[in-house]
């Protein structure tokens, strides 16, 4: 973990502030853009570090958004974790507190209904993009097969997510992936 120049730290912080306002459907939907900036643009993480940041945080107890802090820590230590986590939390939390009551009181308005209905398919597309980026950047095919199997199981069955996480851990420990 290396220290980040102030200009890069500010760029990282600013980008996560922006992503926070775009994270309709949760932070996981903006993972493709995090990858674009952290891996492709700034070169702070490689593909394996990026994927493992999400995997570690998703498997650990606590809010899923913590993967953002793991990413920031891997990129630039505690300062990086502070930049990414504060950046992703601050605007969306403030906005939610400010407009939640307003939106709830006007949920029957045509514009509010149209916003919810219009953004839903985009969120689905962004979640698919997240899955795609996490899968395709890692060499090999077994992890892709496991991803597909997990997606089908979640979709078609009621198997508990922890069972899938445990199965993935066992397969990884056994060296299958």
């Amino acid at each position: 973990v290396s220290a980040l120049p102030a200009a890069d730290w500010l760029a990282l912080f600013g980008h996560f502030l922006l992503l926070s306002l775009l994270s309709i459907g949760g932070a996981i939907t903006v993972v493709p853009d995090m990858h674009r900036v952290l891996v492709s643009q700034m070169g702070l993480l490689d593909d394996a570090q990026f994927s493992s940041s999400i995997a570690i945080a998703q498997a650990a107890p606590g809010p899923n958004v913590l993967f953002v802090a793991v990413m920031g820590y891997q990129a630039a230590g505690l300062a990086g974790a502070f930049a990414t986590l504060t950046g992703i939390m601050l605007p969306s939390t403030t906005l939610a507190l400010a407009v939640a009551r307003w939106g709830d009181a006007r949920r029957e308005w045509r514009a509010v209904r149209a916003f919810k209905a219009g953004m839903a398919p985009l969120v689905i597309g962004l979640m698919l993009a997240t899955g795609w980026i996490l899968t395709v950047e890692v060499p090999g095919w077994r992890h892709a097969l496991l991803t597909l199997a997990a997606a089908v199981l979640v979709w078609r069955t009621r198997v508990h997510l922890l069972v899938l996480v445990a199965a993935g851990a066992v397969l990884g420990a056994a060296g299958w992936i």
Binding site: R36, G118, L122, I124, G125, L126, A129, I133
Partner: protein, 51 residues
């Protein structure tokens, strides 16, 4: 449903495959999607009113 599927596919392709910046995609595609939804809801309301 076809329109929703098309919107989901376009957002997947532009962000996941083409790696376009999210802010532009969300502003352009989100505006189009919300406008489309608004028109559909208005159309449904007009139909219900006409019955």
């Amino acid at each position: 449903v076809p329109a929703c599927a098309a919107l989901a596919v376009v957002s997947f392709v532009t962000v996941g495959l083409l790696r376009w910046p999210l802010v532009g995609v969300l502003l352009a595609l989100g505006a189009a999607a919300c406008t489309f939804a608004w028109l559909r809801i208005r159309g449904q309301a007009a139909m219900e009113k006409g019955r």
